[in-house]
Every structure is written in C-alpha cells, then in structure tokens.
C-alpha cells in the first residue's frame, strides 16, 4: 500500500465531506457567506466547527455534529495541562508530516526540579526557568513547564516542594513520582492547577488511575520499550475511565537511541496512518535520561541532552522533560521548535519598509529585497556582518522569496517603484542608483523606465554584497 492510499483511508478530508454534514442553510451565522465557504475553512482548520451555532444548538443536527467531531478529531488527542490562562495544549496532531497540513501545539519544554533541593535553590531555579527568553524573528521564545521530581519518595517533602513551586510560578506543572501515596499528597494541594500526573506504570496503574479520576488531572503512562504493554495499559486505563493520557515509551540515550526513535516513529505512524486510537495520545520525550550516566563529564551530558531533545522533537515528541537549563543547550531547541511548528502553508514574512544599517549618508548605497523572512534575515545578516552603511528597502511580496516572486509576477517594476516612493529614501540620498537582487535582474530595464533610477544588478546571493560594493560602489559614472 502506498503512502497516499493509507492517508486517504484515514483522514484526507475534502470540504465536501464537511459540507454534506453541515445544515446547508447558508444562514451566515458563522460569519461566512455560505456553508461551503465555511466547510473549506473548517477543513483547513482555520476555524472550529463550533462556529456553526445551529449545528450545536439544534437537536436535529445532533448526529451530524457528532459525525463531524469524529471526522475532524486529530489523530493525536489534544490534552490540556494546567488550568485557565496558565495552561498548555499538548498533542492535537492532525498529521504525521508537517507538509500534510501543519503541526499544532509546539512541544512544551519542561525543566526539572526536585523535592530535595534547598528552598533558595529551588526558587532560584524556578525563577530561571520563568525568566528564560530569547527574541527570534520578532517572537519571544520561552520554556513552558516545570517538572517536579520526588527524589525523596516522601509524601510530606514532595507536597511541600510542590506547594513552594506552585506558589512561585504560574507555569503548568508535572508531578513526577511512581509512588501513588507521594503523588496523592501533592495532588491534594495543587489539583486545581491541573498538573500532569507522571506516571502510571504496570505496577501502580490502578492507584494512579484513581488519582487521575479523583482529581481530574491528565495522566502519563510510562512503559519503557514495550509497546504491546503500553497499548494494553492504555486500553485498560481507558476502560477504567481515564481519558486524558500521555504516553512515554521510554527515552533511551546512547545505544538505546535506535529503539527510542523507532518506538516514537511506530507509535505516530500507527496513530496517524493506521487510525490506532489507543496510540493516538501525545508522546513524552525525556532527554534528561542522559543524566543517569553518572560518570560522564557535565558538558558532555548537556551536549547529549541537547541533541537528543532535538531528535525527539523532530520525531514526534509532543512534550519534553529536560534538566539542562544552560542557554546554549536550550537555544537550538526552542528555535528548532519554532521552525518545525511554523505553518508550511504560510510563508513567514517581515514588515515591509525601509531599514537603515550602520550610519548611512546621502551617498550610501540603496538596495532592496523581499519581505520573505528567510530572505530578509539572510540579507540583514550579510549586511551587518560586512558592516555596510546602507539603506535597504523591504518590498512587500507577501512573504515570497525574490526568485519566486519575480517568477510569479508579484515582484514587478511597479511594486518596486511603489516601495521606493513609500520608503522615503528619495529624501535621504542624493544619488539615484538602486542595487537590485541578482535574481531580479530581468526587471532592470522596467525599473529604470518606471522610476528614473539607474539599476545596478547586485549578486544573486546576498553573501556577495560586500564584494559587489567593493567593486561597484560608488558608481563610476556618478
């Protein structure tokens, strides 16, 4: 069976599939002109089906609504950890590969603390976790959760540590102990925060299930490297009445890596392509298992934890529990997460307009590029690293690269002319020379005609800007 055949069998929806189950009255209550337009947005997950109020309110649509809910259910269940504003959604994956639609709910990263840390150390670490931020393409990247481990195995100690953490932060919590008694002590205090209970195992599952039901908190299931047992336990827990589950099939560092990656991949394949409901729950990766190796040097373990986290994120982990709080370990991971969870349907773009680099004067070069984020940031980086004083006009191409926007007639002499006018650069320089991207060379003539500026065709790659300017700037006949 080919990839596409399986996919179709499971959840390749067309707007028509949705439309047939809608009221088809074109009432417009959802804000769309008609039911077909609404169906198209629903199928792309741009709007929730609940915007169709008649479907929910009117008795006669009840079975259609149920069918739609089923049709639209993600292959991986979405679980909420935390309460109210201070919660994270985990899982909710509709597809196995991001190009099939997009990935939802970026993998939250939880950092561990223990119930045996001295108070000041504990609170300091919590604050460090909260304060971790990095600004990237205009977004602030952060850490998401705190995993409190009971290393003491003492109910009072755990309860006390959990209370302290809960008092110090609003971040969602993961309570980690395999001892139900210890778990219960902490849950009594913080169950309203809806922490994740980590974890039910083949030994303690009944007690953990009771706690999950009693306190209405999601439950992690930990069964290392035994997918039959994992699946059996999930089935049993569902029969027991627990609905919100997360799965930890075990993170094995070092030479157990093949099993780790293989297990995560098999589970996600079965959930997304085989409609295996028992495995359709979010996956927990625990890169901090590298720290079980007590003999290795600290930097080596941080290094290993860093790349293990990245591999797990790429291979379907929906939540990560980590130990390293070092910036160099976490930075590539929060950026990789941002990258992988970017919607592949929407080109990432930056604000169009004039950018000023260094200290340009009236004789400085004027260049343009497009507002595709990758293009823009590459050009920006090249200009900055070469320490060039210049003006850069960012033309609005709807977030499309130079080559594609020229081919698609989005970047034209007219859009360039408009961008020059709008930028106000004409009042900032006394020359009229415009350096254009090499990939837009074919627009040279038209731009000159339309704007009256002389065009210099720049390099095809912005890495060549520096060399180009050395040779060609200032223009010889200026």
């Amino acid at each position: 069976m080919s990839e596409s055949e399986i996919k179709k069998g499971v959840r390749e929806l067309s707007p028509l599939d949705i439309y047939m189950l809608l009221p088809r009255t074109n009432c417009g209550k959802c804000g769309e002109k008609n039911c077909m337009a609404f169906a198209a947005k629903v199928v792309n997950r741009e709007v929730p089906i609940e915007l169709c109020t008649p479907l929910i309110e009117e008795e006669k649509y009840r079975s259609q609504y149920a069918k739609l809910k089923d049709l639209l259910a993600p292959a991986v269940k979405e679980i909420v950890i935390g309460a109210g504003e201070n919660s994270v959604k985990v899982g909710g994956k509709l597809v196995m590969y991001r190009h099939e639609l997009t990935y939802h709910n970026p993998t939250p990263i939880a950092i561990d603390v223990t119930d045996e840390m001295p108070d000041d150390e504990l609170l300091k670490r919590v604050k460090e976790i909260e304060d971790f931020t990095y600004d990237y393409i205009g977004r602030t990247l952060r850490l998401d959760m705190i995993a409190i481990r009971s290393t003491s195995n003492d109910p009072d100690k755990f309860k006390s540590a959990v209370e302290k953490v809960a008092g110090a932060t609003n971040l969602p919590l993961i309570l980690c102990t395999f001892n139900p008694e210890v778990m219960k002590a902490a849950l009594e205090s913080v169950y309203e925060r809806r922490p994740l209970i980590y974890a039910a195992t083949r030994e303690n599952w009944r007690d953990m299930a009771e706690l999950s039901l009693m306190y209405n908190c999601p439950l992690a299931v930990f069964v290392p490297n035994d997918l039959s047992l994992l699946k059996s336990l999930v089935n049993t827990l569902i029969e027991y009445g627990v609905e919100d589950l997360l799965l930890d099939p075990g993170t094995f560092p070092e030479d157990g890596l093949s099993e780790t990656i293989n297990n995560f991949t098999m589970i996600r394949r079965n959930a997304c392509k085989g409609d295996d409901k028992l495995l359709g729950f979010p996956l927990i990766g625990v890169p901090m298992t590298v720290w079980l190796n007590k003999e290795a040097n600290k930097e080596v373990l941080q290094w290993k934890e860093a790349y293990l986290a990245a591999m797990l994120m790429t291979r379907y982990a929906d939540l990560l529990i980590m130990h390293s709080l070092e910036g160099w370990v976490l930075l590539p991971n929060v950026i990789l997460r941002f990258n992988l969870y970017t919607d592949p349907r929407k080109p990432v773009s930056v604000e169009p307009g004039l950018r000023v680099f260094g200290n340009p004067d009236e004789n400085s070069p004027v260049m343009f590029t497009t507002n595709y984020a990758l293009t823009y940031f590459t050009v920006e980086s090249d200009i900055k690293s070469a320490k060039i004083d210049c003006y850069l006009i960012v033309v609005d191409t709807g977030g499309i690269s130079v080559e594609s926007s020229v081919a698609g007639r989005i970047l034209t002499a007219q859009t360039v002319a408009d961008a020059i006018k709008k930028s106000g650069v004409e009042g900032k320089v006394k020359h009229r020379y415009l350096i254009i991207p090499g990939l837009a060379a074919r627009l040279s003539g038209e731009i000159e005609e339309l704007t009256g500026w002389r065009v210099l065709v720049g390099p095809r790659d912005s890495s060549g800007i520096s060399a180009f300017l050395k040779e060609k700037w200032p223009p010889k006949n200026a």
């Binding site: 990839e3 009693m214 009445g241 093949s258 780790t260 098999m266 992988l340 060399a467």
Partner: protein, 421 residues
C-alpha cells in the same frame, strides 16, 4: 576531572575558562587518544574517566498501594487486570527505492582510493527501522578550503595550523576527525576572489587525492561558468577516481554549459551533485537534464540545507517530501541526497556573542551544526558536508547508535525520576 581540569585551565593560553570547553568537549566526545589541540593535552589515561556506561540503578520497589482514595465517579465495572493487546507496527511497502551511488573508486575500479563510500539504497523512510535497516549508513564529508578563509573561532581553533595547506587539512580531517570523505572547496577560483585558473585548482585536487585515500568531493566557487571550466579540468585530472562534482546547477543549464560538464563527468567516471534551491520541480528538471548525459547511479541531489533558525524547516520538509515521493515511485527523485550542514554556521546564533547567558559559543556553535545535521538526517539525508570535529563525531556516533538495534535496557531508565545530580 578535578585536578586535571585545573591543569588544563592553566595550560590553556587563550581565553581562560570558557574557551577551553570547546576542545575539551571534543576530546571527551571523541575518545581520540592522545592529540593536541590548542595546547590542551588529554591522554588516553584521562579519557578512561569518561566511559559511557550507566550506573545500574535498582528499580525502586513500589510501596504498598494506599487505600482507594475516593469512591469512583462513574459506577461501571473497572478492570482489575491489564487486558492484553498486541502492538503491531503498520508496515508499508513502497514501489520505489533510492538508487545506490558509489563515491570514490579503488585501484581495481580504475581509481586510487583505499576506501569507497556507498550511499542511498533505502526502500523505506529515514530510520523507519521497523521496516528496514538502511543498507548504507549515512556518510560524512569534512570541508576543506583551498585558501585561508575567515571562520568563527570555534571552527578555526581546530584547523588553524593547516588552513593554508588543503592536503594537510584533509589528512587531519580523515585521521583525527574520522571523516569518511573530503570536500575540497575551490573557492579561490572565484573570479571575485583569486580567480585561480582551472589548471592550478586541479593541482590542489591532485595533492589532496595523494594525501588521503578516501573519496573526494570537489566544490566549486558558485560562478557557473568558472565552475564549469574548473570541473571539466578536474574531471580529466582525477580520471577514474569517482569524485563528486559539487555542484551542477540549472544556472549552468541556462548558460548552456551543463552538458559539457556532465559529459566530462561521464567520460572520466565521476558523480554529479545536482543542486537546486528548495524546489522539487526544479530538482526534477535538473535531474532530467542530467539523465541525457549521466547514468542514474552517478547523480546525488542537494536540495539545499538552510541553517537551524534560518529556514531549516523548508529544508527538512523538502527532503521529507522528496524521499516520500521517491519511495512512492517518483523516479526523478530517487537519488540519495547530500546536506551542506556546515551552513549551520550562517545562523548568527551559531557564532555570535549573545551575552553570557548563551555562552560558551565554543559549544553552541558545534551544537548548532550537530542539530542542523541530525534534523536533516531524520528527513532522509544520505551524506553530510560538515566542519566542526565535535559535530562530525556526534553525528557519526548517532548514526551508529541508530543502526545498533536491541540495546535499549528498560531497567536502566525505569527509575529516572529519582536520579540525583
């Protein structure tokens, strides 16, 4: 490491505490035995301190379960035992398979390489080990430049003594960094740099071919016309060696010179790396043009590797799509792929000072390259062009770990919650 760590610190002439971590990490990762980098000597005896083994930790006996904490919410019969369900992985068979490409040729095959490398041959997505163990482990080629170039310190510190001697550089990369292949980037041929003529450039290739016995990849300067001239000459000089020319492009086709380069590759028994910029239709178009000249087992694709943080998601997805399409039967995409993972260093986060919170850069940089490569590995890439020795070492180790099945020991992680740092 205690005292010895202090010793290292004192011996380290440059930059104090933070800087030393770079080479130290490499040493620790590499277990290379006695080598010297930036005045930091670590011998084998010290390295024994770091042996990757777990401290076996007994599974904590579960205490007796407490009395049921609350009456059940719903009065249904709850299971008392785990009901057994068997897990069966969903196995697919694919109509397509990736072509196997050999790089380098032995004496018997008409070249002079002591080692050759085969890539490709997969009949399943990347490391879907439940379907197939990849027939050939992905390989790593270390970057060497034909002139001194400006590099971030984290890279430079490992190669600074050989930066003006490509042959010595190649030797270091093979012997110390354990590279499977060498890519010689003939950037000095760039008309905007030194405009080194083809004859001189091909001498560099000859020197490297003599210095090491692994397969060689010949990198151009990016100017299609100049690259064509250089590649034609190199193809002749390296006759029979099955080098890979990096790269052949649609720009060459536009300039009407693709055919002559591809013909030279064919005539002298080499491989072409077909480069396109994150666009599968163009990748297919370039391959179709190359089929006019070259056998299919002499084409590798470079679909572009953008750095982590600088568009890696586009590269990841284009490779994943290409591989799935190839396996589903798209013959024009059934070629192994190469990733220029050294591109990771284009990201400012790989090398720039970002403040003390994000230091040391000597670790952040190679980690950036490592994660860029590993992300591409999981998308299906078959060979990597890399630079930092710690990144090369780690990616090789990960590949080995991924290929070693059946080594997960549940008891070793069963009690991870209580691990004390």
């Amino acid at each position: 490491m205690g005292e010895k760590e202090k010793g290292e610190k004192e011996k380290n002439s440059e930059g104090g505490g933070i800087i030393k971590l770079g080479p130290k990490l490499l040493e620790l990762l590499s277990k290379l035995g006695e080598i010297e980098l930036e005045n930091v000597e670590i011998n084998a005896e010290e390295l024994e301190i770091w042996v990757p083994s777990f401290v076996p930790s007994a599974i904590t006996a579960q205490p007796p379960a407490p009395a049921a904490p609350a009456p059940p919410k719903v009065l249904v019969e709850k299971p008392a035992e785990i009901s057994k369900i068997e897990f069966k992985p969903l196995i697919q068979t694919y109509p397509g398979r990736i072509i196997e490409v050999q790089l380098g040729a032995t004496k018997a095959e008409g070249g002079s390489r002591g080692k050759t490398v085969k890539i490709g041959g997969e009949a399943s997505p990347s490391f879907y080990l439940f379907e197939e163990t990849p027939p050939n482990p992905p390989a790593i080629s270390a970057d060497v430049f034909d002139m001194k170039i400006s590099l971030p310190k984290a890279l430079r510190m490992h190669i600074q003594d050989v930066m003006e001697d490509p042959a010595a550089w190649a030797k270091l990369a093979v012997e110390k960094f354990n590279a499977d292949m060498i890519t010689v980037h003939l950037i000095s041929t760039d008309p905007l740099i030194k405009n080194t003529p083809p004859d001189e450039a091909s001498k560099t290739i000859e020197e490297v071919l003599q210095a090491v016995d692994v397969p060689i990849i010949v990198g151009g300067c990016g100017d299609p016309k100049k690259d064509a001239e250089v590649f034609k000459r190199v193809a002749e000089v390296a006759h029979g060696e099955r080098v890979m020319l990096s790269s052949l492009t649609l720009d060459m086709a536009e300039a009407g010179i693709l055919g002559e380069v591809a013909e030279a590759a064919k005539k002298h028994g080499h491989v072409a790396l077909a480069f396109t910029a994150i666009e599968l239709n163009r990748a297919k178009e370039l391959n179709r043009r190359l089929y006019e000249y070259l056998p299919k087992d002499s084409i590798v694709m470079d679909l572009t590797t953008a750095a982590l943080g600088y568009g890696i998601e586009y590269s990841f997805t284009i490779h994943e799509r290409a591989r799935l399409a190839a396996l589903s039967g798209d013959e024009e995409l059934q070629h192994p792929t190469s990733s220029g993972s050294t591109n990771a260093w284009a990201a400012r986060e790989a090398w720039m000072k970002l403040g003390s919170k994000w230091e040391p850069r000597e670790l952040r940089g190679p980690l950036w390259e490592t994660i860029t490569a590993l992300t591409m590995l999981l998308a299906g890439v078959d060979m990597f062009m890399m630079m930092h020795p710690a990144a090369i070492h780690t990616v090789k180790e990960v590949i080995n770990n991924l290929l070693a099945r059946g080594k997960a020991k549940p008891e070793e992680i069963a009690d991870w919650i209580t691990v004390k740092m």
